[in-house]
Symmetry: C2
Subunit: 425 residues, 2 copies
């Protein structure tokens, strides 16, 4: 099903690596009108859109304490799993913030940067074709570690008006108690503008469909920060003849089952492996419950044959995949040459699904080539770093000539005066 491209020339890479294009211009007007409606009509508009799009009337969007109890009903095995995942995520993320370090750039000129939590953050947990509760620890744990004071969650309810119990269990586990049964564009609008029910936040996090992504981009124009723009999920596998075809097929399918617009890529030096992977995919796909989605996604997907692994690394860096799995003899050496990727999985026993759930790394990652400029979510995403300087009389004296000369050359007298007046120059 995947298209096989043999030994492409460098000049053709860009075209080959193009993602399936979705024309967002068409949906922007719809998204804008929903945003504006929620801005003006707040909770009433949210209720209207929830009825219209999710087919359910939610008169009280906040999840009550009683409703939270449903989280306790999930199987014990799932509880243990979520606890283990949360432990690993916490372990990995808690070392991401370093204490402020004072740097004396000159005697008496002390400078430092301090990480301070963003006070109010909103986490969007999509519903969609799968109840993706695993995104909640990926956003909630770093938010808690950063020290955000107000952490709210928006997620669509099911047809009975309930939030998935695994979301409720996870929220309780990590200490989040404000969940709103709001999904889609209206959820982003609610968190961006605030309503009588939903508090306004300063930054909005989380994946979503094209409408949610467009909404996040538009509210960013109005001054609300977002984690990153999101596109359909994707994986790239870089492999040589030492790789295991069955493992690779399983990895490609695990990405393909996400959505019909997902894309998977295999870049390999070995044509025999390429054929074996295709055979394995054809066999493994048959038993999947989300078979149809996976098959559709494979239509967008490609196997690219390259002459040498170095060339493969260059193709990967040009593509900038969200997830990259490296299965080749010198896997660590190859990993060290990756400059554009969201998260990298090194070796045959590092499947993407390990990072999706439990290794401890974050699964909210830059898609669509954004890995060229964006990082995945981390504790750093939930803080801003404020710079501080404390300068003594002597310190100011030692940099005064520099400040005055530069300010005057820029034609900014008052900048120079602010120094002169202190030193009576």
């Amino acid at each position: 099903m995947m298209q096989l491209i043999k030994y492409p020339e460098r000049k053709d890479w860009k075209k080959i690596l193009q993602r399936p294009q979705a024309d967002n211009a068409l949906l922007m007007d719809t998204v804008k009108s929903i945003l504006n409606d929620v801005k003006e009509n707040a909770d009433a508009a949210i209720q209207k859109y929830t009825k219209q799009f999710d087919g359910i009337l939610i008169s009280e969007p906040i999840v009550s304490k009683e409703e939270f109890a449903a989280g306790d009903e999930i199987p014990d095995s799932l509880k243990s799993a979520i606890r283990q995942a949360a432990t690993n995520i916490k372990l990995f993320h808690q070392k991401q913030l370093k204490p402020a370090e004072i740097i004396e750039t000159m005697p008496g000129v002390e400078c430092y940067r301090k990480s301070v939590a963003i006070e109010k953050v909103g986490l969007y947990i999509p519903g969609g074709t799968a109840p993706l509760f695993s995104t909640l620890p990926m956003l909630g744990i770093p938010a808690k570690l950063a020290g955000c004071k107000e952490i709210i969650v928006c997620t669509p309810a099911d047809k009975n008006g309930n939030v998935h119990p695994a979301v409720l269990f996870t929220a309780s586990l990590i200490g989040i108690d404000k969940i709103y049964k709001i999904g889609g564009v209206q959820a982003i609008a609610a968190m961006a503008y605030g309503t009588a029910t939903v508090p306004k936040v300063f930054k909005i996090f989380g994946p979503g469909n094209r409408y949610v992504t467009a909404a996040k981009q538009l509210i960013q124009l109005e001054g609300v920060a977002i984690d990153m723009p999101a596109g359909p999920s994707e994986v790239c596998v870089l492999a040589d003849e030492t790789a295991n075809a069955a493992f690779i097929a399983a990895d490609l399918l695990s990405q393909a089952e996400h959505g019909k617009d997902s894309q998977v890529l295999l870049v390999t030096t070995d044509e025999i492996l390429a054929r074996k992977v295709t055979e394995e995919i054809n066999e493994q796909v048959l038993v999947l419950s989300r078979k149809e989605i996976a098959i559709a996604a494979l239509q967008n997907s490609k196997i690219i044959l390259v002459n040498r692994i170095e060339e493969g690394i260059n193709i990967v860096n040009e593509y900038a995949p969200e997830h990259l799995i490296i299965c080749c003899i010198d896997d660590v050496a190859a990993a060290n040459k990756i400059i554009n990727a969201g998260s990298v999985f090194i070796g045959s026993y590092s499947p993407e699904s390990a990072g999706d759930y439990a290794s401890g790394t974050n699964h909210v990652l830059p898609t669509n080539g954004f890995a060229k400029a964006y990082s995945g979510v981390s504790v750093e995403s939930f803080v801003k770093k404020i710079s501080f300087q404390k300068i003594s009389y002597e310190g100011l004296n030692s940099i005064s000539d520099t400040i005055i000369a530069m300010a005057e050359a820029e034609g900014l007298d008052a900048h120079a005066n602010a120094v002169k007046i202190r030193l009576k120059k």
Copy 2:
């Protein structure tokens, strides 16, 4: 000239602290049409707009090696000043990147995040009413420290088609050799889309006027990253009765001279100080070469009297100033309570102009309240952090139950299979 507001009630803070609003909706259409024109007609469109807006025909936008020589003509005193500033900026910024640290979340599950430079970055240095060459080291030095491979600069030329010699000197000093004589929206478009002359970049940095800011926001919708949205520059001074009125007046004026749309704020517990500062401003402003601009900016500006310094700190955090100067008896204690600000200047000998030029901290900072969610520019702005995981057979085995339980609960069979197939579960 500044408005005095005495002891406002908390409910009125939001209104009082509102920034002068600029309606960007009106200019968006203009900006969009220029962006689209450059996207389609590239260098020809750039030449056209440079002629139209800057009144000059630039047939060869790149600054030649010969032209770079003009940088050597600036006075030795300015050269020394720029060298000193660059040294301090480098000292402060070079400690911002930490080496990757491997965290073994479980035995055999090794995870780390590595900072990797954004390969291609574009720096915008505005011309405007003052030749702001001091922004170049603030962007160029962290870009170099991060290890960006391609660093380009766009800046408008003067009426004679020349780039300010201080910009050329600074660029040479920090090792940047690609400067394009392009300003405004067309510069942002050139860097976002690329032309035959100007390479496409992955992230665009730098302050600019409303048109430049709008252009940066719009190209962000097309997947090019930006440092942050920018608004007019602003300073807030928090002071008690121990503060020096003349120093504060000089600081407020140094911000007010930036532009007519700048805003300055004094929050103080002392009415006598408020009066003295006003008197000082009235006196000091008279001798400024940019007097008219400063006077206009002061019309947007306010002195807010508060009962206690704690209340003042809360007002500051609500306002989230780009620059905050703290002149009160317990200045360090007050600084520790600041949660929303771009850069903080502690004590009477820490004027904002020290940070603007030479203390070592960055002067590209979040304005317009964006300090609630955004940080100033740092070396981190020029990298993305890629996460890596290397899992052994035993490591995968130890987290396999967790992955499988969560994947199956999310209805994602193929995610579970990717683990099962490796462990033959």
